[in-house]
Structure formats: structure tokens, C-alpha cells
Symmetry: C2
Subunit: 441 residues, 2 copies
Amino acid sequence: MTSDNGAAPQQDVLLHTSALHGSLEDASLSSMNFLNEIAQRYPDAVSFAPGRPYEGFFETDLVHDYLRRFEQYLREEKGYDEEQVRRVLFQYGRTKGIIHELIARHLELTEGITVDPDSVVVTSGCQEAMFLVLRALRRDERDVVLAVSPQYVGFTGAARLLDLPVLEVAGGDRGVDLESVADVVAGARARGLRPRALYLVPDFSNPSGVSLDVDTRHALLDLADRLDLLLLEDNPYGYFSADGERLPTLKSLDTKHRVVHLGSFAKTGLPGARIGYAVADQPVTGADGGTGLLADQLSKIKSMLTVNTSPIAQAVIAGKLLTYGCDLRRANEREIALYRENLERLLDRLARHFPPEGGSGVSWNVPRGGFFLVVTVPFEADEKLLETSARDHGVLWTPMRHFSTDPAALCQIRLSFSLVTGERIDRGVERFADLVARRAG
Amino acid sequence: MTSDNGAAPQQDVLLHTSALHGSLEDASLSSMNFLNEIAQRYPDAVSFAPGRPYEGFFETDLVHDYLRRFEQYLREEKGYDEEQVRRVLFQYGRTKGIIHELIARHLELTEGITVDPDSVVVTSGCQEAMFLVLRALRRDERDVVLAVSPQYVGFTGAARLLDLPVLEVAGGDRGVDLESVADVVAGARARGLRPRALYLVPDFSNPSGVSLDVDTRHALLDLADRLDLLLLEDNPYGYFSADGERLPTLKSLDTKHRVVHLGSFAKTGLPGARIGYAVADQPVTGADGGTGLLADQLSKIKSMLTVNTSPIAQAVIAGKLLTYGCDLRRANEREIALYRENLERLLDRLARHFPPEGGSGVSWNVPRGGFFLVVTVPFEADEKLLETSARDHGVLWTPMRHFSTDPAALCQIRLSFSLVTGERIDRGVERFADLVARRAG
């Protein structure tokens, strides 16, 4: 076909990734795609791979119940008439969200975090909250952020979209190595860079499963103050303590607005609502000398990114909050018990298959809750081995090398115990032991 | 309070916008905030300002009905068992979305657009779709995009978040000035820049109300081909034709993958679902030589931005699509009729108050549908005048200067006729005429 106007023949558009954003050529993204793809190719494998919440308690009627509960709240607690109820649920709405008051109540009740609801920004999943904060903090190419290693890939991915470098900080046994934080900040400043914030998951971290003890939390807040660094506290797993102990969040200890608290309802509410939030109560002064909240700056960015978060999706989460008196620990009693059982069973089966005296060279950490633990094996655990594991042994896991540049990670794997239960755990560990035996033999 | 370790006293965090992303200091964002704020201060004013769909047909039960309808579809058409239904609705899901097949069916039926469902990316509102496309296309500081003037602020906002310059192209009476497109592209290339795409709303544009005729559509496709430019076609208002004529979308005329089609269900489905999509069937080759779809590149970006779009929100829109046989024109018969009446009434009242022989110096364009028209007045229409208009005359509108650098825009205002109906329109035009009389007198 030639063009109507006698010009050169029309050509089909053909783009090349080298003409698109650099993130699209990153090896890490291809790796994540490979992990997803292998899970699809071996659907019958026992999978310790995904960090998804347990599905067995989902009920379709719940969505309807939760929506009705929120409608009732709007009528009875907020005093809205039917027209207002419909407008809140269906029309374009407040950029920062419509369930901020319930989230603030929930944070006060279950996390000891007392904040003005106006400092809460409700987002399309916690991933958007991370992006909003990073977009606000990256002014130009001198800005950098820090993240505790091993790192959550969602955070590094959001930073990558902004061409924002993430400097790795050692995690170690305490969950964050404070000396490493100070060293990385000093090194960056010496190179003319501006370290803006440190990202971490203080409770049952993804992927390591490690938690910070109380002393480390206080020491980290002090250090952040001395270094003039914000802390980005991501808290998806806090409720899922195996021993019932709930350590105070960094935000609840924060008297100086050092902490931006990132919340997710994907594990405690319903993943399919895709509702997260940021608590950003930092004061911000503008060119006009007026002072507002960082939340309002995030809101401006959100207005250009997703406009506002679906009020219908927000209503589902609000309905669940209301049903349980804003206490999602109560709402998750069955889940908390199940994840504890899973963790205990997984630890038990690992101990049976790899006894200390057996000389297998296999070891693992013992998290106090959450979704993940890390196994160290006496050989490299890469994508090729994962494929062998899936094909020949029917068991899936995640190579730790995706989360860290630490050489130790080359021989480590992440096992998730949130989605797989009971005898599937036994079978999975058996199969994993077969893989280890074959690899060692 | 002093720090525990004897270091300098802890200070409260205080951020300054000069240390945050430049978009947060933009005058345009402050302007949008001013417009929202003034609407809140004068809630009783007749408002021709917001581009929101009519609210009178919202019904809370519909959300439940639509959700049930989609559940039924999963069971009956997809053959899913209850566990699969629950997983699709509630668990993390496919990054590109779960209603892509229904969207493809809808595009085929009502827009004459035939695409592989795999080229559809379902997004958290059309705003996210714009951001994904722009993020993919901006590799570095040499990349720029073009937009027809006057411009939709959502597009310029998304570009601003990426530090991606938007070059203004003249719109003129035909909706796009092709010479201007060629000139701007040539000029940019001469400066070493890479013009990647031209953004426009071909049907009943926001804010001008202007549509491209069929010849212009063909000519624009040819030109894009010759200039090797992508076209970003945004189509929120296409159904809302006042005279019943529906011109072919650019995408339906596109035989060479020149067009990325951006869709929104905010006006045709339900704003509160926040569901939009991109049709991105452009072939993309990677470093490995393999070829995929641009949609898959957008999906990778989405995985780092919002992970996936709420399946519950998607289900609501899918339920509406299914209820009306994937024909949202049928679903919107009442809305289409109402917007036509509103437009006719607004034109009639304008003609009564500002007769051609009256010498008022007030004129306006006559769109063939959509939500907006543009009025030209014989004085500058700025924020100060808007405040006067709201306070003293009880009528709200939007200064066109927010959408264009064209000096003509200084004396123009946008009137939206989607949310205001019947006698409120009469009253609004009356009040506006009072403002004009006062300003002229």
C-alpha cells in the first residue's frame, strides 16, 4: 500500500526497546517475567514462590456485604442522603481518597499511630504510594534513595521508573546495619549526591523474613535524624506475627515526622481491591511561604498519575474495616493462625529433611512471622536450577539473587509459606530435598 | 528533646517544595487547585466548570448487579469453578487486566476497531494509560511529545511527571493544523530532539469541543506515517454525538499500527470504577531479536507502578458491558439524549442573551456533541474574574488560558454542559450575561 499523497510508501510501525525507557531492558524485569512464566508453565508444581495471601477464606458475597456496610456508614455515621451516597461511590472524588478517616482510626487502634486523617493518601495499591513518594523526592539526577538489602523488587522497580538510583544498605541479622546506613549516606554525599530516604520493611521483611528489634528501631530513628534522612516504612505483614508479639511500628515511635508510613490492604483486606496508602505528615513549605503536608504534595502527583483511587474499591476495604471495628487483626485471626501453622510446619519439615548432623550444608533463618523465610544451599541457586526444580521435581521457589547484590545471595532461595498449606508443604519440602540430593550427588 | 546518643538535638523534618519534584511548583497545578477550591467555596453556584458525567442515573444497586453479572460470565462463558471465580475477583491478577476480551469485543462492535485482546492494557483510569505510554516513549531528555492546542491538562500533567516536554501544535477549526504538526516536528528534529507522538482528542475535544472531520483523520494518519510519529488518540466522548453521527476513530482507520488508542469508562461506564485502557498493538523488538507488543512493554511499566488494576473495579465495568451486549451506546441512550438537550439548551440561551445584532462581542463555537463548548468574550477571563463571577454572580466556568499559550485563549472560557441541566442552564447563562454586562459596563 502506498500513501495517498505520493510520498514514500507507508511502513508499519516497528519500535525497538532501545528507543524505549531503559527500565524495559533491565535484566531484573526479565527475571520477574521469567519467574511468572515458569509458574504458569508448571501449574501443578508445589509453589513456595508467590507472596500472595491465602485464598481459602475468600467468599464472593463478602464484597457485596462490605459495600453495603460502607453505604450504611455513609448514611448513618456521615449523615449523607442517597444522592450524596451515590456521588461518593460513583462520581470522580477526592484525590487523597474517601476512607482516610477509617484508615486513621485503624492505625490508631491497631498500630498506635496517631495521625491527622488529612495526612493519609489512599492509593491504587501500596505500589502507587511508593511511586508517589519517590516522584516527590526525586527533584533531579543528584537525588538517590537507600534500601535495606535484600530489597523488595516493587520498591526498586518504582525507583527504576524514575531513573532514581537505589543504594544498597546491608541488612544483617538485625534487619538493618546502622553503620552501613551511615557509610552509604556519607559516601553518597561525598560524591555530590543527595540521599533522601531509606526504604525498609521492619516487620517480617520481604524477602528475608527478618524483623528489627525495638532497640534497633529506636536507634534507626535517631540515626535518620542525625543524617537528615526520611524513613520509608513499608508494613504489609505486621499483623502476621507467629508468636503473637507485635513490635511498635517506626511511625508509632516517630516524634519528628521522620517516617513516611506505607500501608497495604492486599494481605489484610483483599488483594483484589488494590488499596494501599501513605501516611505523609511531613510539613512542606512552598515558594509562597505557606506550609502544608507532604500528603498534599503526593496528592498533586496522584492527580496527574491516576486522578483518584476507585471509590468502589475503597468502599470494599472500608466495609471490611467497619465490619471488624477498624481492627484488621480481628478480621485476620484465621489467616494469622494459618500462616503460623504453615511456618511451623515448614520449619519442622526442613529440620527433618536437613538435620544439623546430616551434613547437607542446607540452613535457613527462623522468622517470627510474615510470609517468607530464606534457605541457604551449598550450590548456586539460579534460574536454570529453578527450571530443573520445576520440571524434574515439581517444586517452585525464588532465587534470592533477584533481591541483592550480596554474593551470599547467589546460594540462597526464598520460600513463601502464605499460599501453600498442610500436606502440600510436606510434599514441597520432600521434592526440594530431592533437588538438593541430586544437585549434591 | 535531645537525642539519646548526645548528638545534635533532633529537629522536626521540614521539607521545601524547592527540594521536591519541579511539577509541584508548576503554576498550572496551582491553577487547577484554585479551580477546585473555588468550586468548593461556592457550592451553590451554577457550575459549568467540571467535566464530570451526569449523576442523576446512578443507582447503588447497579454495582451489585454488575458484579453478579461478571461472576455469572466467569462461570458460564469462561467455565470457571467457584474457586477460580474467587481467585479472579479477589487475588492479585494479570497485570494487563482481566476484562481485555470484553473490551476488544466492545471496540469491535461499537468503534470498528479490531484488535487482539492481548494488545489491550486495562488501567487505573485513562490517566494511568497515558502515563504508561509516555513512560515507555521517554527514553531520555531528547524525547518530546506533541499535543494539539488547546490541550487536555491530564495529558500535560502526565508528561510533566516525567519531565517530558509537550510541544504545542495549533488546533484551528479542523481540530488539528497539519502544517503546524509538520513544522513543530521539523523544528524539534532540527534542535536534536526526538518527537515521539502526537496526542489529541479527535471527537468533541476537551476543552475545545472541536472534532476532526473524516478527511482530516485520513490526512493526519498519512502525515503521521510520513513523519514517523505515533498518534495517541484519546476517546472519552466519542459516543456523545448530538446529531447521531459517529465518525470513525483514528484507530479504526489505522492499518499501520500508527495509533495508540486510549479509552476511558469514566463517562460511559462509571467514574467510580476508575477503569481505562490502552490499545497498543505496535510491534516492539527487543535486544534478543524477539518481537512482542507495545502492550507488553506497558504491562512491565504497570507492574512497577500499580501492579494490576483492581479486578473488582474491572468486574463492575465488565458487568455493565455484559448487561448491554458490549454496546455502551445502548447503555448510554439516556445520557446521550440528555447531553444533546443540554447542548441545545445552552446554545439557545446563549443566542438569546447575546444576539448577533446586540454588539455584546460574545461568540461561541457549536460542537456536534461531547461535554464542552468555548465562549469568546471581549475581555480577559482570568482567575480574578472567575472569583468575581462565583462570588457576585453565582456562576462557575473554566478560563481557557489553562489549556493553551495562544493569546486568543486569554479571552476565552470553557463551558461544560454535562452535569448541569434544565433550568439550571437558563439560570447559569443569565448570571453569566450579568457578569458580561457588568464587565462591559
